[in-house]
Symmetry: C2
């Protein structure tokens, strides 16, 4: 991963070049933050949907056990 | 957002300081990439669960419509 290769000062690297790279990385971080917010929102929505569907399954199971009980009477 | 405030060269900013900041940002990006991978995996898993639950609701609806049809006979 990129953690293994830190940037090192090489001869001829100017402060202006480092600054350019710094601003490029800053933009990447800002975009990743937006993407992560979107993903968090997606996860939250999917969990709401999951809870709703589990409740629907539970309701139908109750109706089915009622239908079976009536058949046995 | 941070996009509005790019880094600028100020007097006294050394290449070593810029380099330190650059490596800090690089580590942040690496950690964010790991976090995003985890979130992608969570989203994938939640979508599989959603599909499975929708199928379970469908199955029970079919069983219930069968039970109703039998009652009417």
């Amino acid at each position: 991963g990129s953690l293994d290769h830190p940037y090192a000062l090489s001869t001829g690297t100017t402060a202006a070049e480092l600054l350019k790279k710094l601003n490029e990385q800053r933009d990447i971080i800002a975009l990743m933050e937006i993407k992560m917010k979107e993903m968090k929102s997606t996860i939250r929505q999917l969990k709401v949907t999951e809870a709703k569907l589990r409740e629907e399954v539970r309701e139908r199971d109750m109706m089915l056990s009622g239908a079976v009980a009536r058949k046995k009477v």
